[in-house]
Symmetry: C2
Subunit: 333 residues, 2 copies
DNA sequence: CTGTTAGCGCCTTCAG
DNA sequence: CTGAAGGCGCTAACAG
């Protein structure tokens, strides 16, 4: 059962395909009467224009690509959700590309670009692909939601170093002097280094307060509660242990929290813990954390992209956005 | 900077477009020498075939649609991840449709189908759209990962009623006689009723054990920790309270857990709690729960779909899959 | 205002 | 084995 085509509609309405196309695209002037007649036929036949044909002739794909590593992590899900929120009803579909390695990133990107697969791209945290974009399709609208400023594309970011500093300062403000750090790997195949930056900010704060940064208390593992749990477990069992832990993410923080609870440490009396991100779960877990606008930032990115697509250009004031950070004091500090 | 087309490749290789097309599709016989020459040019030009053109002429979109309500819930993210896992590298892209209401579902579906947007569909939990599919595109390959058996399409499900029963029986086995139930709404606009079924299984178990099912202990709210937290909070403060709570999902269970902790109830001595789903977070939260193969089930669905697409038909033994359930005893019962 | 026509880039016969 | 030609469904430019 073939779907009806624009020609079927035209014939049935007794007009030419051009006219149908016009009402479809709302563009030109069509006599109201004709327009109504065509609309009726469209309705009757349950017609909607074939996307591929539309793409091929119009040059527009009506799809936005989202490239993301680790899209199952709560922080990425939040961002995805923000993007989906604005795409929904915009006429654009969302194609999700999940990436795990640098090589995969390049391959995918090459493919997407040369295939003319999308009208625009939202790239989550992968700042290291400008080269690829520039060589294959330099003027494809793309927004980067990244960990660090980028050269050629509009970006949306937070100041990770500042965030690490904020977290440490918060602990210091609560009179902690023995402060550790637990995070995920500082180096990895995708050149993600939010953790490194947050850790640097952490060190800055300690230095400025004249506090020592104890190497044995700064632990790095993989991005998972399990990993944080194990590191914290070991750390807490030492004679000499910190009274406060700054973490690189809420996920890690929950692992630390679990370890502390398991050892019957009271929180925050025996050990204070602060997270980073403020994922939805943080609120109910009563986790004190550094809030970053995950959903909002992604939403903003999607809005910028859509207006870029609509206007054909992006205003300068949307090229570099640094979102505010905020400490959310709950019950773990 | 226009991407190179098949014609560019043909010209540069000194052959006709037909030949290029042949090597692109691996299909026909091309002299090895010619083939190598063409491959080299393709490489050199960084050419890859335009998707839209390919779709239009070939009738294949090389994209799979995934339709999901609430895709940010951990259980859906897990399934998405399972799907992405098999699609990755298969040549198919994943378009994500997030749906919130029945009306939206119908509108989207209509669009997707008449637009010829996808080669196949994986529909998460939304069993109530067979009609739509049948009328607009009865032979589009579609797999349903659902809450209850479906008529016209291959489906993958678990026995929710059985799951509810298992959970209750687990409590009974641990000598509980005062058992409550906390879940999300039993009726909703998308006709999702896993909770209702789980609750029925719960009732079955109580009945069979000769235990009363106390109405005041069976509470239903929205699908969120907050909601569960509030209901549990109220419940636990009553004189007369259950010693065990069966929940409709891990998410709800964590809300209940939080409420219990907040009231200094010991777990599982004062109150035992069992979840449902076994989302990743359950393991680290040490939550006892009913495990369902979220990732695996979705992975299976995607595999079935791809082979359907490849073979042109789906074997009978893949049309009705009921996945096993399993109690994971951890520390909350 | 509206019908007609020429592509968009690729795949698929159909001759050679 | 390989080049040429038609058509997929739609948009856009051009006549009327």
């Amino acid at each position: 059962m073939r779907s009806p085509t624009i020609r079927d509609v035209a014939r049935r309405a007794g007009v030419g395909v051009g006219t149908v196309s016009r009402v479809l695209n709302g563009s030109a002037m069509v006599r109201e009467e004709t327009r109504q007649r065509i609309l009726a036929v469209i309705q009757e036949l349950g017609f909607s224009p074939n996307l591929a044909a539309r793409q091929l002739s119009g040059g527009k794909t009506w799809t936005i690509g989202v490239i993301s590593p680790y899209f199952t992590y709560p922080s990425f899900v939040e961002r995805l959700s923000g993007i989906q929120h604005v795409l929904d009803g915009s006429g654009y579909d969302l194609v999700l590309y999940s990436i795990r390695t640098q090589e995969q990133l390049e391959r995918r990107l090459h493919q997407i670009l040369t295939q003319n697969r999308v009208d625009g791209l939202i790239i989550l945290t992968l700042g290291n692909c400008e080269q690829e974009l520039q060589t294959y399709k330099p003027d494809l609208p793309a927004i980067m939601i990244v960990e660090d400023a980028v050269q050629q594309y509009p970006y949306i970011m937070i100041d990770n170093r500042e965030g690490g500093r904020l977290a440490a300062e918060h602990m210091i403000q609560y009179d902690h002097t023995l402060i550790g750090f637990i995070g995920d790997e500082r180096e990895n195949s995708l050149h993600l280094y939010a953790t490194r930056q947050r850790f640097e900010g952490f060190q800055d704060a300690l230095n400025e307060a004249g506090l020592p940064c104890v190497d044995e208390w700064c632990l790095f593992g993989t991005h998972s509660q399990q990993s944080a749990y194990q590191m914290a477990q070991a750390l807490f069992q030492q004679e000499d242990r910190p009274t406060a832990i700054v973490t690189s993410s809420d996920t890690m923080a929950f692992g630390v929290l679990a370890a502390a609870r398991n050892l019957r440490l009271r929180i925050p009396q025996d050990v204070a813990i602060i997270g980073f991100d403020d994922i939805p779960h943080a609120a109910i877990g009563r986790l004190t954390t550094v809030h970053q606008p995950l959903f909002e930032g992604a939403k903003l990115g999607a809005e910028y992209l859509l207006s870029w697509l609509a206007e054909g250009s992006i205003p300068d004031d949307q090229r570099a956005t640094v979102l505010p950070l905020e400490i959310i004091q709950r019950e773990t500090v």
